[in-house]
Amino acid sequence: MNEEIDDSEFYHEDFTTASSWEILVANMEEIVHQWKSDKQHEKTPSSWDIKSEKLIYMDHNFDFTLYKRTAKECSMSENKPKHVLEEYYDFTLENSNSQDALCLFDWYGLNEFIVCSTAGRIEATNNESKTKILLSALTVLVNNMNLDIPAFVQIQEKWQKVYCGVYCSNGIRTNFDIVHLKRGPHYCQNLTGLLQLFKSKICSPCSIENITVSCKLTYQLQEFENFCNVSKDIINLGSLFKLPLGLTTSPVKTLSLHAVWSCLSEHSVIDSDSQTDFVLMRAQQWHCNVEFEDNLLCLLGDCLSEYLSILNNHNTIYDILGDYATSNTPEMNPLDVLTEPAVPTISSLIGKATKFRPKRRRQRYALIPDETLVTLLYFLFPDAAESGTVPYGVQIEHLPRKYTIINNRDEELNNIKTCNQESLVWRLSLVLSLCLQNFGGLKAFCHLWYEFVQEMRYRWENGIPIPGVSNKMPDLRTCLLNQKLQLLNCCLDRKIAPETQKFASAENSEDEEFFDATDDLDEEKRKEKYSLWDKPVGRLAKFNDLKLIKTGDPLYIPCTQDPVLKTEDQLDEDADMLLKLGSDNEASELRARIMSASLLSDMESFKAANPGAILEDFIRWYSPRDWIEEEELDEYGQKKGSLSDRMKLDNNIWVEMWENSRPVPAHRQKRLFDETTEAEKVLQFLDLRTVSQIVELVIPVLSHASLERVLDEMEYFPMEIPHSQTRAISLLKHVQAISRDSKCDIKRFEIFMQEITALELQISQISFLQSTLNPENIEDEQINNMIVAFVLGRNVNIENKERSIIGARIMELFKLHTQKTFNMAPNELRDRFDQIHPVPAQKEFVLRTDCIRPNLHSCQSPQFLRAILGRNEFRLIGAFSEDTSFF
């Protein structure tokens, strides 16, 4: 190439002086220069630093990629060998199959190399002359730049992983070449043949004597018996408490055992057609790795994804259930049977359930069968059955945890806005998941929800409290569904409370007054003062010893209306309404008027209970701080006083309201909170939910339950799951966010689902390996570490081979496997079972030598051949070097 041309722009302008091939080389050089000047990425998560650029040559796109092991991975960098092939390396313990070209590392042990391959997936450089052109470009590049990195061109089909390469260093050029065939020639099937091939390929003028041989035999175990079968028919009560977790099939695709011999002299071993020294039991080392199945079905992850799949379904349950829900007459509903006012015995219930069945059979197909439905409903409403159910609030005893995954687990999980684990909503979400996953999908899901709503309505109409829901005011720290049920339960409470009890106190106080009157004759006279329409009503209790200012009668606290209860969605509406008014003074006054309904109600109750009372009396009870006492006593022996300044203001809303209020006891006032309307609103809310809305109500609880499930699993697990803490905390963050999002964030739920599925998969893989490789559950750090390494896809060296616990167990598995196939053989063969050895699935040989090439006076250069002999693959991977001096 011309020396004076160092400005790349020049090339683009003057095509007469440079061919496109020269431009290609120049571009490559430029890229390599750029890479060299690039700063090292200090923090790459993977063990490979990969830089890639695009090249165009002859209208074809090429990827020009540099692969480099990160510094911490290659510890040998301090004393760098003279030649890349001299790095001592035979078989890797890592599985680096993630990137195609990294097989070059596996095969040659290269820590740094450049690959030029066609861009895209399909195209391949299979034209020989094109290959040669590219290879010569690389050769020029390597020579021009004195590049100490091997450079490769990928040829043939991409999946074949065939590369040609070149490397120059210290006057030695190495050519890399790969042969890939479906089946190799017969003379290449053993070491003897391969040695011959190697020697003839080197073609050295001297005889070659010092070849070192390494060998790896791979034995594979593929059929793993299924270990966990989920029966979909039988529901057992205990299993309802937990979301499913685990796999239905074996996660292991292949367990490979590698018998490894390293650096033997060619003369010390024999491996020919008739005889071999390479026998599993005589190997120097055993390596083992496990390949897992892809696309396994994880039960918990599957459950969550089922929800995700119906999240966009905007049908109501009636759309989906169709005739079933609409034509069902009330008495045909099994729930009515379930919750008769007098708690029925199970036998009577089953009797009734079966009685109705023939009629219903015709209508239902994908719906939940009766027996199952009854079990599920008893689980949700344990109070409907006499025995055999688990009522709410029964603590399940926990074993001591093996690991602490999240510090203050209980406290942290309480911050999730869902509900108590001992609550109806919790159980409902578990049962809904079960229906969705196992009992017929969406229809069953809707069916259960329908039955649930029917049950709610039934309980409301018949005044039966809902179990597993507190009857206190809606707790805003729980999820919306729980709040709704709490509200319904509060309404039920108020409905059930007998009318007489509500106003009993009022009558009592009158009795009490009667006794007072007998003590004091003056009192009796005063009582006569009350005209018929001015009789005190709705008294709760005396308020300390205060007396009315004008009349001197005792001041009574009135019975007041029950507080208004609201769920968070209603509160949001209210707050929105208040906010919309704006923030000026006028708006403030308007707000005060809106909010004053309860004040007016209290004033009216007060007037009814205390005839003759004035505003001052009311204020003394209602806002004592606005009554300023004086030292002087009035005629009834109580301190005189006056209203505070702010109470005396003109146009004061308090004064105005006092004047406008009439004496009406609480029970005759307009209701501030009408339990019948409110309960009906809740029932309507539940009834008219679309599938998507039901899912949104359930997702927070479901996510919480999934997290609990995984945490439980990890805490009692025989060994620690890698990164369990970080992963658990990440999940916790997601659940906290999901529970607090006002609108369901699908993306977040998806991420949560992926994370939890990955964790579930790993848990299942580990527990499968644990039960397969360590069936006696021996507590051993080393075994645990090995199993974790398998799951992380690493190749593990089994120390002490068959004498170690794992090694012995693997041998046992191989024997069991052989025995299985062997059982079909004639009896006499079976006796010789012990002599039967598994057949290797793949053989791999590495041959190395240093020899003089091409000429008698050349210096020694490294030669390398790796042969991989598989059942369906034959591959020769060679690297042959020659001295470039003098020739």
């Binding site: 707000r591 309860s598 209602y622």
Partner: protein, 204 residues
């Protein structure tokens, strides 16, 4: 300015009746003092845009009635508040002793577990103090809240009280950003509490 708003924060003002909650709010939002402020019925609110350390936030401040009878109504509005100002009257000891009840109420009804609490001793302009600053301090330290003394009448401390509260809210991860950025540290609870202990302001 509107478009640069970082977030909207919900702040509560609670405390016994007559301690000056509405006056405090009026002073802060309109820089005004009305000795004849009427009694709040239920809840009221005002908004204000505040710039704290170059973070522009919009405050929606909910003022509540202090009367016992309104206690069934007002806690519903505690939902999702990021900060709470608990006011007492330094010239009335009983309003100070009731603070414990108000803190309990907050714990029960606030839906954010890491809500920032600030205790404000109001009416420091009056001659006769019944609650000393030391007592206020000790109380705030015990309950790990912020503490500040103000006078809605003379303006003292009002602005700083709100600024300090907002600053603290902004510094608390996961409180206002509603998990948008994943910078929440679940294990960081202890740390928060610790820093809560030491952050008293002696502004008067």
């Amino acid at each position: 300015m509107e478009e640069n708003i970082l977030t909207t924060l919900k702040i509560l003002i609670i405390g016994e009746s007559g301690v000056g909650k509405s006056s405090l709010l009026l002073r802060f939002t309109q820089d005004n003092f009305d000795p004849e402020q009427t009694l709040t019925i239920g809840v009221d609110f005002k908004t204000k845009i505040l710039n704290v350390d170059d973070n522009i936030v919009k405050l929606a401040i909910w003022d509540t009635a202090g009367q016992e009878r309104f206690r069934t109504l007002t806690p519903s509005y505690y939902r999702d508040a990021q900060g709470a100002i608990l006011v007492f009257d330094v010239s009335n000891y009983s309003t100070f002793t009731r603070l414990g009840n108000w803190l309990d109420e907050l714990d029960i009804y606030s839906t954010k577990n890491n809500i920032i609490k600030m205790i404000v001793g109001n009416k420091i302009d009056v001659q006769h103090r019944e609650v000393s600053r030391e007592e206020g301090f000790a109380f705030a330290r015990r309950y790990q809240t912020l503490y500040i003394e103000t006078s809605a009448k003379t303006k003292d401390g009002v602005q700083s009280a709100f600024e300090e509260l907002v600053r603290k809210i902004i510094q608390t991860p996961g409180l206002w950003d509603s998990f948008q950025n994943d910078n929440i540290h679940v294990g960081g609870n202890d740390q928060r509490n610790k820093s809560g202990c030491t952050s008293y302001c002696t502004l008067t």
